[in-house]
Amino acid sequence: MGFSMKNRTPIAVILTTASLCFAALPDRVLGQELNAEAKSKEAVEARNKRNAQIFQNNASILTFLDRYGKPTGQIGERAIYEAAALSPDGKRVATIKDDLENESADLWVFDVATGRATRFTTSARTEFADSPIWSPDSGRLAYTAMRKGQEGIYIRAATGQGAEELLYKNPGAFMNLTDWSSDGRFLSFAISDIKGGALYILPLEGGPERKAIEIFHSDLRVLWPRFSPDGRYLSYVMLDKANRREVFVRPSDPAVHEGPWQISDGSFRSAYWVHGGKELYYVGRDRSIMAAEVSTSPSFSFRKPRIVFRQQVAVPDTLMYINRDGERFLVLPPALGQQLQQISIFNREGKVVKKVGDPALYSNPAFSPDGHRLLVVQNEIKTGQEDLWVLDIETAKATRITDDTRIKATPMWSPDGNYIFYTALLDGDWPVYRKAADGTGKEELLFRYTPGAFVALSDISPDGKFLVCDSGNVILLVPLAVSDPAARKPIDYLRDEFDDEAGRVSPDGRFIAYRSDEVKPERFEVYVRPFDAARPVAEDKKWQVSKDGVFGSEPFQGPITMLHWRGDGKEIFFRGQELDSNDLVMMASDVETTPAFRAGSPKVLFRLPGPIDGNVGAVSRDGQRFVLAINVPADKTAQSSESK
């Protein structure tokens, strides 16, 4: 027995340890294939139905736009695409396409003229290919792939003939391979994690021991390094701690001390050198295609960016690639088409009783405790921000709560209606904050968990003494009695071998409802357990409330939880599991909490055609009204804060 340690410089370790690991794994390892239960007919059918819903809600068709933003054609079938790159000769498109059933993604190449598709990779379950880039002569493709737990850069003839060649092994994962230099000698990639990021170039000369050259590293994350046509500069995108993205340019030679130059004033995706390096195109924060006139000789210089075109739609397409001629743009239109959301209030029969405001990109509507206001998340295309707003139900008057670029999640009202609680991604963490519900005053930090941990806020106890949070499928309670936020330590209310989440405290503070997949993997049910604030750890005693599953077995339904107690504690609402359609099925169970807990049989209140996101706070305290953001066809003039 013994151990060996390999603690060297990163590049040396990349080459040494990666090769050891790669060589050590046999063809088949445990942990990637499903077990017998997961392969049962019932489980496979349920998984297939969930995958069909995911596909329906996320698949789109690659579409070409011209330099005016007008669609000129489509290519390939409807699919969930992760990446796309047009060959320099304009004849083929390399794409990464998801395989939901296999939990993998693979490289496909489409012929632009004929639409014929050629599959380039076949990944094992849970593994993937990513980041295709073309050689300058369009004769070869490079891409990253995860194989037997080892990520590497591979290269292959663009005809699909012949074997692929492994160019480089990465010790971690999620290399952001981006570009191939015009002289054909280098590849560029970025690696970023919570500690920051670095830009690299990889010389293609040499053999398997070739070493990547670090160009630049930062404590901020960096993405998408692209060579200027003369190879002297790299454009890239840097993300600050609040998720704001900007396009920068710096020399590709780390020995040259010039720049960097910030080109953009808000950006979304990669930048592209076009017109022989005379312009740099990128997506502005409002999703307009922007162009900066640039020069790389004798040194780099640029002029103020101008708009190339602004998409004349309410919900912009996702840019996938810009051709070097600046004439062709590959985009993915929204999977569900041009749809905004109308905030709508329903009664217990599922009839609309009130529409609030005009359609916009809304999500997560939640009733205030007094039932007169709504908390909503609005995605504003013009600012590139997602912010929290409070709407008056009668007048639709809007009050802004946040105004920044952070991603916000799990917003909710305080029990007294005076504050808005929420989480916001900052520097890799998800701290919990609160801010006054009238929009005044400063944001107050309430709780910060393990660095980098995702925390979903699921409730605030009725007495305001505890936050209820989900993290890692554990239900946590955070005592707020401790005055110093840094000293607030979470208590494990429920930590199991299976997934427990979405804890909601009963109005009398004596129980917590939650959902769990303890009986069957990938199938959640609602349970209730006693809660004692003096000893806030779950007892073994529990009661099952739902019978036929609840919405939420797909992990990304996780934060969007509809599980509610009526204000008098006599009814529990939840969203039923519906595998055969996107419909929202609102369920209710009569319950009693005194002298002991008892739950009646769940019944369907109403069914609405989906897709519709549910939300914490979607049910009014009296249990008579339900607020949802309903998809409606977009009027291209209706978007954003113009409605306020």
């Binding site: 027995m1 013994g2 151990f3 060996s4 390999k6 370790v13 690991c21 794994l25 046999p26 390892v29 445990l30 942990g31 990637q32 294939e33 499903l34 077990n35 239960e37 997961a38 489980a43 995911i54 996320n58 969930i80 992760e82 998801d98 939901l100 939990e103 993998s104 849970t126 995860m146 037997k148 737990g149 080892q150 971690g172 994962a173 999620f174 970023s192 994690d193 919570i194 500690k195 993300l239 998720n243 979304f268 991603i407 660095p451 980098g452 941990a453 995702f454 993290s471 890692g472 499928n473 554990v474 930590r495 199991d496 071998e497 299976f498 997934d499 997949d517 993997p521 992990p555 990304f556």
Partner: protein
Amino acid sequence: MISRARLLGLLLLAFAALLASQANAHHNMTAVFDFNDRVTFTGTLTAVDWRNPHTYFTVEVKGAGGAIESWQSEGPAPSFFRIRDVGKADFEASVGKTVTVEVSRARDKSRFGLIRTFTLSNGKIVSACPQNC
């Protein structure tokens, strides 16, 4: 367990690598572990802690001077194994026996790491990648 591919498809505006690791765990892997610092150790598996949000395995390893050192390794969540072809019983069957573990070491250089591969006492290899890579 969510796949990276599915994750990316649903969160186009999010930073992929960051969120990919966050969605699977209660902490960001790269915040705690250095993926460029790999360690492989062989020893006796003495404990299995099988609970959310991660599994933990304790291995007693004979160091260079003959002293016994205790290494802790972190594996995927139990829910990952519930639908996979390897489970709790496979690990528990290796308790008291010799196992080999390859980890990405903790950034604080303690005897703690994130599992990449775990060779059970029967010689079967469990891969925690790509979840832990």
